[in-house]
Amino acid sequence: MKALTLIDEIYDEAVIKKNFSRRETLTKGLGFGLKAMLAAVPLGLMDALGNKAMAGPSNTTIVGVLNFALTLEYLESTFYTMGLAASGLIPSTDTTIFMQISKHETDHVNTLTTTITSLQGTPVAKPNFDFTAGGTFADVFTNYQTFLAVSNAFEDTGVRAYKGQAPALLGAGAVLTAALDIHSVEARHASEVRRLRGLKGWISNAEANGDPAAIYAGEDNTTQLNINVTTVTAVPAVSVTEAFDEPLTMAQVLAIAGPFIKS
């Protein structure tokens, strides 16, 4: 009887492969970015077996999320462009790092803009920024430690912002994947910048290290899917908080970003 079950499963596998072939054909060779996203959007509306409808978000919802993300990417890309242009700010030893981060943020602006346009949406205009946040970070472009603190704030906020929007993109196929692919890049940046500050690359408890506390609110959570992880593992509670990054809602992120946005 076991063998019959196995044969059924093998047959199922062949059927699954066949169903996936269309998705693979459409996305194969298109590479990253717009083409890949567009090719897979309609397919994203199907479930993982490709044969059953799964409700996905409307274009309006997707564009709303992407415009939110675009605002944050404008914030970051403008910040790094200005930081790299400020003479004597970034030590030569660290220039390579910030050039790489700056390149990615500019890439993200372009990727999001193109995607929004292709979804018949209108990309938000680039806001005007005040990187001192009304004087809180007055020497942001003359004091490297301040610059690092603001960079750290933006990167960790970015990670939380994308994470918070992922459920809104559930069923959006490759657009969701692209958002996740940006999300992890922000996390790589965050780790690097934190370590430049002499911090751990990961977030312990809700420690803000001089940045606004709101950016780390809730990062000390230890309950995941209703499981208090500290009760099922032997590692210290602080490690559990480090092991799971927490999301922020759009409203929470906009409240954090608000002081940096003039108009």
Partner: protein, 240 residues
């Protein structure tokens, strides 16, 4: 045991007729004793068995969570061994990072085991014979591969989840894996662009490299990569 052999023979016949020789060779069905081992294992879990006799992670959201659980088991086992005796001349800073990462991966592993409950695949036996645990380059190189693989795996599987809660928890974990990857990459090549290098982050789109479990774009699949470090092999026949 008789039943098992009988089952194995039946399965071989079935496979030969349905799949043909090429596919059988591809999956290496008769190259080792893995078949019997695999069949033994497949009676102990809910993920189903695969054509290769490996432990299959299953399908749907459960399959994706089990796939993640397999990777976390692998990572946890690796860092436990790394921390048991650090490589030669490991600095205290390096030891602190590797100890933290070990704790994170153990937390992930234990979380998934608990979240999956009776649907969880069994504990996997790792095979780190390819790693020289006395060598910094070998340990950090393996760490980098595991972390980058983890990032691409979570990113690639995310769109196949149907539960928003699972998607969120996967997001909570993948960014920590990305933080690990950046730190390890920086240890290997300090102050370079490698923490988010062009080999993993597309230089024109700024998107991290992501792959589905069985995708062979850019090299061996994630499943195949994981299996190079596993005695008990896994498969993901119901996932893309």
């Amino acid at each position: 045991m008789d039943t098992q052999i009988k089952t194995q023979n039946m399965l071989q016949k079935a496979l030969q007729s349905r799949l043909g020789r090429r596919k059988i060779l591809k999956y290496g069905l008769f190259s080792s004793g893995a078949m019997v081992l695999g069949l033994g294992a497949c009676t102990k879990h809910n993920g189903g068995s695969s054509m290769s006799g490996a432990i299959d992670v299953g399908g749907g959201d459960t399959g994706i969570l089990n796939f993640a659980y397999a990777l976390e088991q692998l990572e946890a086992a690796f860092y436990i061994q790394v921390n048991a005796k650090f490589y030669t001349n490991a600095t205290s800073a390096e030891q602190a990072i590797l100890a933290d990462i070990m704790n994170h991966e153990i937390a992930h592993r234990d979380f998934f085991k608990n979240a999956l409950g009776s649907a969880a695949i069994p504990a996997l036996t790792p095979d780190f014979s390819s790693v020289d645990f006395t060598s910094r380059a070998s340990v950090l190189g393996t760490s980098k591969a595991l972390e980058d693989t983890g990032v691409s795996a979570y990113n690639g599987a995310g769109q196949y989840l149907s539960s928003a809660d699972y998607l969120t928890v996967a997001g909570k974990i993948v960014s920590v894996e990305a933080r690990h990857a950046a730190a390890i990459r920086d240890l290997l090549n300090p102050k370079s662009a490698d923490f988010a290098g062009d080999d993993v982050v597309n230089a024109s789109s700024g998107l991290d490299f992501s792959r589905t479990p069985n995708s062979t774009t850019g090299g061996p699949s994630i499943v195949a990569t994981a299996n190079t470090f596993l005695k008990t092999k896994i498969s993901a026949t119901q996932l893309p």
